[in-house]
Symmetry: D2
Subunit: 341 residues, 4 copies
Amino acid sequence: MIIVMKPGTHESDIHEVSKVLESLGLGIHISKGTERTIIGVIGDKRVLNDVPLELMPGVEKLVPIVESYKLAGKTFKPEPSVVDVKGVKIGGKELVMMAGPCAVESREQILEAAAAVKKSGAQFLRGGAFKPRTSPYAFQGLEEEGLKLLKEAQEATGLLLITEVTSEKAVEIADRYVDMFQIGARNVQNFQLLREIGRSKKPALLKRGPSTTIDEWLNAAEYIMSEGNYDVVLCERGIRTFETATRNTLDLSAVPVVKNNSHLPIIVDPSHAAGKTQYISSLSKAAIAAGADGLIIEVHPNPRCALSDAAQQLTPESFDNLCSDISKMADILGREFRYAR
Amino acid sequence: MIIVMKPGTHESDIHEVSKVLESLGLGIHISKGTERTIIGVIGDKRVLNDVPLELMPGVEKLVPIVESYKLAGKTFKPEPSVVDVKGVKIGGKELVMMAGPCAVESREQILEAAAAVKKSGAQFLRGGAFKPRTSPYAFQGLEEEGLKLLKEAQEATGLLLITEVTSEKAVEIADRYVDMFQIGARNVQNFQLLREIGRSKKPALLKRGPSTTIDEWLNAAEYIMSEGNYDVVLCERGIRTFETATRNTLDLSAVPVVKNNSHLPIIVDPSHAAGKTQYISSLSKAAIAAGADGLIIEVHPNPRCALSDAAQQLTPESFDNLCSDISKMADILGREFRYAR
Amino acid sequence: MIIVMKPGTHESDIHEVSKVLESLGLGIHISKGTERTIIGVIGDKRVLNDVPLELMPGVEKLVPIVESYKLAGKTFKPEPSVVDVKGVKIGGKELVMMAGPCAVESREQILEAAAAVKKSGAQFLRGGAFKPRTSPYAFQGLEEEGLKLLKEAQEATGLLLITEVTSEKAVEIADRYVDMFQIGARNVQNFQLLREIGRSKKPALLKRGPSTTIDEWLNAAEYIMSEGNYDVVLCERGIRTFETATRNTLDLSAVPVVKNNSHLPIIVDPSHAAGKTQYISSLSKAAIAAGADGLIIEVHPNPRCALSDAAQQLTPESFDNLCSDISKMADILGREFRYAR
Amino acid sequence: MIIVMKPGTHESDIHEVSKVLESLGLGIHISKGTERTIIGVIGDKRVLNDVPLELMPGVEKLVPIVESYKLAGKTFKPEPSVVDVKGVKIGGKELVMMAGPCAVESREQILEAAAAVKKSGAQFLRGGAFKPRTSPYAFQGLEEEGLKLLKEAQEATGLLLITEVTSEKAVEIADRYVDMFQIGARNVQNFQLLREIGRSKKPALLKRGPSTTIDEWLNAAEYIMSEGNYDVVLCERGIRTFETATRNTLDLSAVPVVKNNSHLPIIVDPSHAAGKTQYISSLSKAAIAAGADGLIIEVHPNPRCALSDAAQQLTPESFDNLCSDISKMADILGREFRYAR
């Protein structure tokens, strides 16, 4: 970290700041410029987390030099991590496809969806049992009943299961049914929930929040990892901007940026970003071309009858076409995807 | 709601959509334009919440005409609501001042802060016991120990107490100590928590999220109200934009917009918006001039020693000056504020 | 357009609005809902551009149903447009690559850049002669001298030329040298300049502004087209958001959205979006996978010596690798790109 | 500026960077941390504007310590500037009110508007003669004819005149009629135009662009000032965010931030920010309470007949009420405003 002092600061103020830093075991380097003096701080800056240096006399601002997360960062672990979920490896050569309906609605619906996505090559079945909805009057999910139906679909197809958890209680219940937890965009800074998942030791898919910077997102991953659970996969799903033509603005730059700053795998959710089925195929291919390790896509056997987010769920036919395209692209990009397994 | 059909849609598609609407007990009005046909929908549109009209053949888009919340809206209750917290009325003529440190840190600190803000005219003492922090390595709050210290400060000063709750468990604990719950910006769409607070029947201060539209914010209030708790006060605290000179961009337009669309009271938090003490006085005065019903401000007896958000906490002296200014402005604006009670 | 009347509006106000619409030759359709009356307007709404209906008594709001542009829209021309620049077709099966340095700096630099990008398969040489820079103290371009050097590079390689024009005077000068004008992001709503280019009849590349919605961008294209110049190509180059890890947030959803709403070709500029060379290859491939008709990329024979935007210019080697990758992807996507022509 | 080197950089790379800096006459300070080495740069960094240090081997990133503008900054001139326009002082104790219609439409309209705003206390008459409009089919202004009508209104009332200029030609024409130029939000980075106004030596009101940071805005002011015209007044008018309840999000924090970083006066335009008359009074009072030096407000004798931006123009009556309120607030805030002069 760099401490920038105000123009014309007294020597005594500089001395005062230096003393505090030294008392915390940090090294310092003072550099006097034509207008300002700056103080470089050397050592583990986490001891400074709760020290309000910016309020000391003469201090103009603090400039962080290294990122605020540690376990999630490339400096801590330079080689890419592979998260192994019962044999399916996320972050390796193979592309991972998670697919299924927005919400589990009925036995028939989830069994039909599972059979369809399995056939096109998906390794994971997704399906919401606990649904966070903007309006309290909208469908809120089948809860444990939905998880049982997911389990039945798993028995029929062998697909791995992933579902969103929205509270500590949901974690406890879902833990008995699914292979991977999903933390939704609205909960990316629900730190209580992140810690709970950290303690659970089950692999977690951490969606980016609509107004979360990549830096804050990696700090959210750090919450899970700091509890000892290192099996975290990131998921870009669009950020909130001024543009209203799509539900959110898919930030595909996040893929190379995350690959540059972190060792964690990253997949992309084009369904929530676009909000409209006609854009999902384009954005899915773009995500894979950008270097994503996989996709999570909403597929419904009969989207017109869906109880939530109908406009963004693909039909099994469209999903199958997309998987076929992805499979062809995978080769060119040095990846692998077994279409129609 | 208006349903816009695509150019050149078949009569049969229009007929199909009409049939669905009529089967749900809704009235329709068909209007054929030069390029498109539109269908006006008449009746309580909440029956459409889970019907994916946008996927029916021929449908181009749906255009909502009325807001999606009901209990929080002006149509439901045209006159302004006053939330009465043990005799202190929020939303009436009197301006309400909530003040205190970001986090409760020690007995001495909270007692000193309470005495100071009481003297300048505050009616509420604020102080965080459960602190949501971006980094897992930062100070996370004293939890129940902090609430006990708040209670002691209340006994010494008679101030009402408000604290942030971050989980169902925190609600349960805090319920025994404080007079009003605060839902923080990161939890504005933590629907589980909103429902829990709705069931608690204790008055709640609902902060706007950094990327929440005013419409979504009023829907979050609706979650609390739909459980039977109508004592909701809104709090604008800045939204996330591209500008980095301030921590967030305080959206003071939200004050007249909320007053126009809702009957709920609204106060403003300049501390989190600005992130720097030197801007808090300007923004506080601006908030009151814009029509806010009060302020919530961070005050620390010794900001330089604060364990969190040090840069945005006022000294008791600065806070006292601000209260004196607010008191003078109140008269001009037809409000009331008893400075130095 | 739909006119939504306030709840409880008098019949006479509805009558008044209807009269104004009918006097302008528009048809109307009145629909009375349970809470509000709405008036559907039928006919060419451009006659309403300067009529402030929203101020008439009883009017709550206006809801546009069709887009505000006409010549740029799919309704006006459903099949995709191909812009032919001296035989190179933008928007057809072939992908178009425009490449070259941010700014023309010297004879040696531009000749070397031209030879390199030609060799890898580019059809256009780009190079700034008039440079808009945030700070007045930064390098501002060689102006006409730069255009002469571009011309010389064209003679040596046969590449087509494109350059940014920043004023009417620049249009007049550049018209004598280049094959296509570029309108930069900062000038997307410089309507004087847009009209001037409309009158020039030379093909134009219209960059999206950092805070321009897709709708406003198509209206900017409409300015050029309404003067009779239909040879407009759009260029997505990133929008301004809260994220600071990249210079701008590349909005690749804009590619399928533009293809859905407009017949105009669209290419992508990953250099300005990313601002850092290490992300350009990923984003270029993503843009092509999303369906873009081409790319415009900054390439400098010696980026370390560049006089502007050094951090985002590729070396000829990196550019060559990228072209090779794009060429392989083109086949899979049903497009064509002749690498190393 | 601070240069942060990558972890594990070779001594020789550090040496190389140091050599370049020293060759440019800059001082350096090397500080070796536990993970990274950083190099502090001492001296006038403007010599580095065109040196791509970020591309040198081993360099991770550059961290600016001081702002990029000079003449517009507080370091250059610590005391506030007062811009004197023919005796009316902007930035002094007196609040300045600029008012008038969005566009000059007719002789009758502008004379009526001028008489009204003069009566309520305005010192400036505003009125657009060159109108930048999103759609090419909307009213574009009366051009020189409009300026002549403004002049006539000046003769009748003695008000000073301000009008927006959108091109070098408009500057040339308007220069013969008005007392102050306005640079609109869309032209804040039209550098050609800024330089032209810098050369004109006439006072200029520089609006903030919808996606311009405060730092870029002060750099735009620097363009004007670097040509020798120091009479620049800034005008906050709202930025583009995700919120759609108002046309733009008025960023009132910009007022204290500008006062902190620059010596230039700043006024506020609530009309374009709100886009709706019902919010203008609240926001105007908030702007003054935040410390603005004045306001620019759209007033139309008959808003319902306005040819542009009808929804945001106040009636003379509403404007008069607002001026009365502002006058009362002025005293409390230590300012002055002569209502109904």
